[in-house]
């Protein structure tokens, strides 16, 4: 009787331990599901700056993949050392904030400093047309995903921070995305 009880007790302890492990596994599986539930379910853009690739996805499906150019990481200092610019493409999560057809480049101060030219007082002298392609997607803080004249440089890290895309690919992306489409850059 005592031997039988001891044997039964051992099985009971094992069963209890097994139940506890199952409960833990089930709880962990639940947390994993909640992590996966955070993934974007609709359209989103991914920019891989290490491979200079832009991917448009809808959930898990890749709709378009494009070779792009991203930030050079170079540093420009204003003579006199008052201001400094680092030409990185920003990393993180952004959103498409505006869509522009036939964008016009309003040259910022660094563009003149880089070329050794005086910064114009008249804002009309900052306007440069035709260098950003036919489409542009603004992601905030002055950064854009836009077209390019320098197609042979696609695939290299040569921009001042923006993401340059081939015209055909950008047209496809521009027509697909909406304001608020998430953009993940790493």
């Amino acid at each position: 009787m005592l031997v039988w009880k001891a044997g039964f007790g051992n099985h009971l302890i094992e069963a209890q331990a097994g139940s506890l492990n199952l409960a833990r596994l089930s709880r962990n599986a639940d947390i994993e599901k909640r992590i996966l539930a955070q993934r974007p379910k609709g359209l989103h853009l991914i920019v891989d700056t290490s491979r200079n690739i832009l991917i448009l996805k809808n959930g898990e499906h890749i709709l378009r993949e494009s070779v792009v150019s991203t930030g050079s990481g170079n540093i420009l200092e204003e003579p006199g050392g008052r201001r400094k610019w680092v030409f990185d493409t920003p990393r993180g999560e952004f959103q498409v904030q505006y869509k522009v057809r036939n964008p016009v480049w309003i040259k910022p101060d660094w563009a003149f400093i880089e070329e050794g030219k005086a910064i114009p007082e008249d804002s009309a002298d900052r306007v440069e047309e035709g260098v950003l392609g036919e489409y542009a997607l603004g992601i905030g803080n002055g950064y854009f995903i836009h077209g390019t004249l320098y197609k042979r440089m696609l695939g290299r890290n040569i921009t001042h921070g923006c993401v340059r895309v081939d015209d055909e690919d950008l047209k496809f992306v521009y027509q697909a995305v909406t304001i608020g489409t998430p953009v993940y850059i790493f």
């Binding site: 833990r24 539930a37 491979r51 170079n74 993180g92 070329e115 050794g116 890290n157 790493f186």
Partner: protein, 205 residues
């Protein structure tokens, strides 16, 4: 404690097999790590996961895998994993790439821009995470110079690790170190992608 005792202790610490989590505790550690990742996934931003079980380093955002890198070899010292997210505080390498400093007026309009590429990144470096955890990233050596450098690093590490362990013991701080070996291109890509401030989660063995 005599010098001989210290040497024996150092040899013991050096030879001590990398620790693995107590099997009975694995589920709880994983739960903590998952909860940490869930907190990161709920916020905007890129983070990375070192999954020692799956032998992968994964760059993620919103729980979505952006880039997965295979770990070829791994070693762990200390009770890493199953903790709060760790922030990447700094990276260090023997030869760190220098950003190009542009001189105003020197670049001709529409001329090609010289710039660093991923292939300029180091393939052997340290990631210093918050809480005192260091992750050493290595890659398979390619070429004679690389093999010599790799050998020198291994020799240095074999000497330094017991000293660092003793120092941690003396300070009452847990010694935590992970050594990961990736392919050369993956190691360089990881250096490129990770920047100071990036959060991470460690899934222990």
């Amino acid at each position: 404690m005599s010098t001989l005792h210290l040497v024996v202790l150092a040899c013991f610490l050096n030879a001590a097999a990398p620790l693995t989590a107590d099997t009975g505790n694995q589920s709880s550690l994983r739960k903590t790590a998952l909860e940490s990742e869930l907190r990161l996934a709920r916020k905007p931003g890129v983070y990375f996961v070192i999954d020692l079980n799956q032998a992968q380093v994964v760059v993620k955002a919103r729980g979505m895998s952006l880039k997965a890198l295979s770990i070829i070899r791994k070693s762990v010292w200390g009770s890493v994993g199953g903790q709060q997210p760790r922030r990447l505080e700094s990276k260090s390498a023997l030869s760190e790439p220098d950003r190009l400093r542009l001189k105003p007026g020197q670049r001709e309009e529409k001329a090609p821009v010289p710039a660093l590429e991923v292939s300029d990144m180091p393939s052997r470096y340290l990631l210093h995470l918050s809480g005192g955890l260091t992750v050493g990233i290595n890659s398979e050596p390619a070429g004679i110079v690389d093999r010599l450098a790799s050998g020198a690093y291994s020799s240095f590490w074999a000497t330094a690790r017991p000293i660092l362990s003793l120092r941690s013991v003396a300070r009452g701080i847990p010694f935590e170190w992970i050594e990961l070996s990736l392919s050369r291109s993956d190691a360089q890509a990881l250096y490129w992608v990770l920047s100071e401030g990036t959060q991470s989660v460690i899934y222990a063995l």
